[in-house]
């Protein structure tokens, strides 16, 4: 679990430096892969360890993932979305609306 948490935090922290299409796609894939590895019971404690900036970034990645019609992955993403909203609140969602990933060259905080 620690390694999964560490992987997710790494994937989120490396995101701001991605400016090209391929880098963005690669970092998105990294986040998706590390999300799939986390077990259901470990999601809550993992989210509790994220900083607010990471929570915002994770929410943006969740929305990017939800836009793709992949039923199995989206079931996991929807679960994460519910738990992340409990921590980040509606403000976190608001920031994904105003400052989405494709405008993203620097962290929103």
């Amino acid at each position: 679990m620690e390694s999964c948490a560490h992987q997710i935090r790494q994937a989120l922290d490396s995101a701001p430096s991605n400016t090209t299409e391929e880098q963005q796609a690669a970092s998105f894939q990294r986040v998706k892969d590390s999300i799939l590895k986390v077990r259901e019971n470990d999601i809550d404690p993992l989210i509790a360890t994220l900083t607010p900036g990471q929570v915002d970034l994770l929410m943006k990645y969740l929305y990017k993932g939800l836009a793709v019609p992949d039923a199995k992955l989206n079931a996991v993403l929807l679960l994460w979305h519910e738990k992340l909203t409990a921590v980040g609140g509606v403000g976190c969602i608001m920031r994904s609306l105003t400052n989405p990933l494709h405008h993203f060259l620097a962290p929103s905080n």
Partner: protein, 170 residues
Amino acid sequence: MSNTLRPYLTCVRNTLTAALCIQNFPCQQVERHNRPEVEYQNSKELLLSPILICRTEHEKCLIEPSINSVRISVKVKQADELEQILTAKFTSFLQQRAEAFRIMRRKPIEGYDISFLITNTHSEEMYQHKLVDFVCQFMEDIDKEISELKLSVNTRGRQVASEFLQAFTI
């Protein structure tokens, strides 16, 4: 199957609650005009980024927010041709009576079955949380309605066929 329905509806509900922060905003191009910016898509600075929530390939929800209006488009799950026809007829019935719904759009967005347009006047006249409740309840109920319609079509067909064919039995 229904274990993803709850998270899907919760996700839509939370996103809608965030997106429904709308206010009155007069038109910037034409004097004395006030129009829902999400429908015109003219000024980039007035539009927020659209959010697409896909539960599966055939069931998704598109939320397009802007400064004074939000457009919500829903694609209902349609498993077979009969459900497609039923959904088309049912949504067209509702859309013809869109005036009564007030927030319903008369035509759905391309690629979706039904669309809602919520403007700042709606959010001024009605409670925001109730608007969100309505849309989420609508999404939940339309699935049930289509299943009921399909069931009754099959039952009626079976009854009609057996009555008809009784005339040919000795």
